[in-house]
Amino acid sequence: MTAAGSLTGAGEPAGRAPSVVPVFIRLKLSVLRNGLRQSRGRTVGWAIGVAFSMLYALGLGAGMIALRGNDYAPAAAVTLSLVLGLGWAVMPLFFFGGDDTLDPTRLTMLPLRPRPLITALLASSLIGVGPLFTVLVSTGAVVAVAHSTSAAVVAVVAVALLLLTCVALSRAVAAANTRLLTSRRGRDLALLSGLVVAVGAQLVNLGVNALSSHHGLHRMTSLTAVLRWIPPAPAVDAVRSASHGAYGLMAAQLACDVVFLAVVLVWWHRSLFRLMVSPDASTIQSGPEGGEGRVPRSRRAGGSGDSAAAAGRGERPAGPAGLLPRRLVAGRTAPVMERQFRYLWRDPRSRATLATGLAIGLLLPLVAVVQHGTIYQCLWAGGLLGMQMYNQFGMDSSAFWIVSATLATRKDAALELRGRALTLALIAVPYITVVTVGAALLLGRTEALPETLGLSLAFLGSLIGTGAYASVRFPYAVPQDNPFGNAAPGQGGLVALNVFGGTLTGAAMSLPVLALTVTLHLTGHHALLWTVLPFGAVYGLAVAALALRLTAPKLLDRLPEILAVVART
């Protein structure tokens, strides 16, 4: 915009300025296109993702249409629209980093007033897979409850209103939380909340399965009386009201949604205004008080206490490493373990990976207990925790150079690997024991406890051993900016090799223990099945120890190669 241009524009009313809507729509399209241009794999992945979500949307929409005339159709339509609204509201919290156009702070330097900016952002937000998905699904929902001409007209309004409300809500949530989401803590938090949602969804799934009787559905219907007044559901329920000829109710419901949309827009407007006139978050962070209180006081005291105590006791390592015999954690093993434990607690990625392993390792045996399944589901706990040994150095990212710069002998390499393996074992062995014992008690299969635990420990040992080897031989970079990717682009093959190859090899290596179990079962020596526990434990330990010993020289030889791979983020 030239100075001359703005001078001529100044004579006219402010609202007459050329609209920025087309600019924003073009921007959105360019961002979409450029995102796809980055790599072929990404384009293919995107296309497959879009195809699947469209199929899902069509299926959902068709399913809703099929419910037309059913008693539960209104309840289903209301629930579906609420789920859509909720999805849009929480989406920016998880995928903030994924869409640059979501971050209003990128636009603060442009000479734009909040009001035209809101119009433009709203218009550009209507482009994409998400809005299309919403239109398809909500069309199905309104078709399911529209039974008259007037209802059909209201249905069109309802879909438009629902879409606008969802998109505006999503944008408003993003704008209100920009400060949080662009800060380090916010991103840490988002990563963990994603996990909570994922695990929570599984628990809900379990609950829904348990409730999916006629009685459960009835309860749902009575709940709908409340749900249909929570926006954006009233818009969809207004269609049902119109079908019944309850035009007063219909008007009230549509008005409810319009008011809600207005409130959301005002909220968004305020957040945008605040964002655009206050300084950038990065400047605030580097201020003098920026980091105070980041580390909890208890840890602060604990940190110096740790070192002071360690000094007082001589060379006794602090933390969980101190629980183990001193010879086992000699040399660099203890500091490696301490750092690993600190990372499991403080690094959101390590924490999320571990928490996923722990949660799913508990969930699957729990499913077995609820559905009276097999106790062998407990093997998942060992398997999922054992897999954490894979790509150890990828998790270090380029900080691996510190390991590389201080690792000079085979012994160093062996102790480094031992530290990482012990950290995992110190968590996994008690956890597996507790889960297996718990499941055996709840399932009333205490007689199968020793063999299950023995198999679990053998499997864990095998996975730790093969994981150490794979970490050295087939490392891959873990992206640091995208908390949801577990591998940087172009390494899908390596990840698959790690996960599938590792699991298969781990399973194959625990075959001897499995063979013993099966033999004892088949030959009817059930009284001897307890031997699987000591055999499995010793076998797992031996396999892990042997693999670490054989892998250590390889680690020493491959330090620069590993660094070159894992630093590629």
Partner: protein, 297 residues
């Protein structure tokens, strides 16, 4: 994964040679035979590089470097962006495997004698992370213990380094929340912790505020005064000129000049001028931008 693997032959060579004491012939065959043959009478140079090569795909990032850095000097490795400074320092410190060539640190081969070299050098790389979810103090203690220092000694040295580098107030803050200057300082502390003989710093002043820069400078000057060798890379000529007594100028993956500062500067008024003529840069920039400033908008 190609390119990062090195040639199969080279890995074999490494496998057979590991554990031996410093060999004098080059590790990767090829050029540079007779490394170390000269200079056997005096003390070995702090760094000796022969025929060092590194290619990334078609492009040679480092194209045959020969360099000998005397001990106890404050050495500046200067060059424009993309000259190969970081690649060179990575190979010299053993973080990146060269395609060809040999590197010795105080007479010990980097690739055949890692024990001798790794304990004698301190490194502050550029563009690589630290373990940032540790606090500053934890990072120092962790690094020190990886280097095999006793806990009490690590504690003592870490405390002193934090104090001198003005990080005591932030020692219990996570490194991820540190500013650029604080990161460079904690990285420097980690590099100094085991009292190395040679210190390699890649762009230690990049993005650092003047106060932190002065602190870093003070520590480095104290370190060289007691006989330590500092090799640092930079493209800020004024800084190099005021700090260093020995410089090596890199351009296009090669060393175009090296030696004592006065020698490299020659007749030019400043190192900046000498540098620009050495790398063949055009001083007349921007004469076509006649619309810039004044006149029509």
């Amino acid at each position: 994964m190609d390119g990062s693997q090195g040639t199969p032959g080279s890995r074999e060579a490494q496998g057979t040679a590991r554990g031996e004491t410093a060999r004098l012939e080059p590790y990767y065959g090829g050029s540079g035979s007779g490394v170390g043959a000269e200079g056997q009478d005096g003390p070995p140079p702090a760094v000796r590089v022969r025929g060092l090569w590194k290619r990334f795909g078609e492009q040679a990032a480092v194209a045959g470097i020969d360099l000998e850095v005397p001990t106890g000097r404050f050495v500046g490795l200067v060059g424009p962006n993309g000259a190969g400074k970081t690649t060179t320092l990575s190979m010299v410190t053993g973080l990146l495997r060269p395609d060809d060539g040999a590197v010795q640190i105080v007479g010990r081969d980097v690739w055949t004698d890692p024990v001798g070299v790794k304990s004698r050098i301190g490194v502050l790389p550029e563009g690589l992370r630290l373990f940032e979810r540790l606090t500053g103090r934890e990072l120092l203690v962790y690094t020190g213990r990886l280097r095999g220092l006793p806990v009490t000694e690590v504690d003592r040295r870490a405390g002193q380094l934090l104090e001198v580098l003005d990080l005591s107030g932030a020692q219990h803050k996570l490194v991820v929340d540190y500013s650029t200057g604080m990161r460079k300082k904690i990285g420097l502390a980690a590099a100094l912790l085991h009292n190395p003989e040679v210190l390699f710093l890649d762009e230690p002043f990049e993005g650092v505020d003047p106060v932190s820069a002065q602190v870093i400078r003070g520590v480095l000057e104290r370190y060289t005064a007691t006989g330590g060798t500092v090799v640092f890379s930079s493209h800020v000529m004024e800084l190099v000129e005021s700090l260093c007594d020995w410089v090596a100028v890199m351009a296009g993956g090669r060393i175009v000049a090296s030696g004592p500062l006065a020698e490299v500067r020659g007749a030019a008024p400043t190192l900046q001028d000498a540098f620009l003529s050495l790398v063949g840069a055009d001083r007349r920039a921007g004469e076509d931008l006649d619309w810039l400033g004044g006149g029509d908008r």
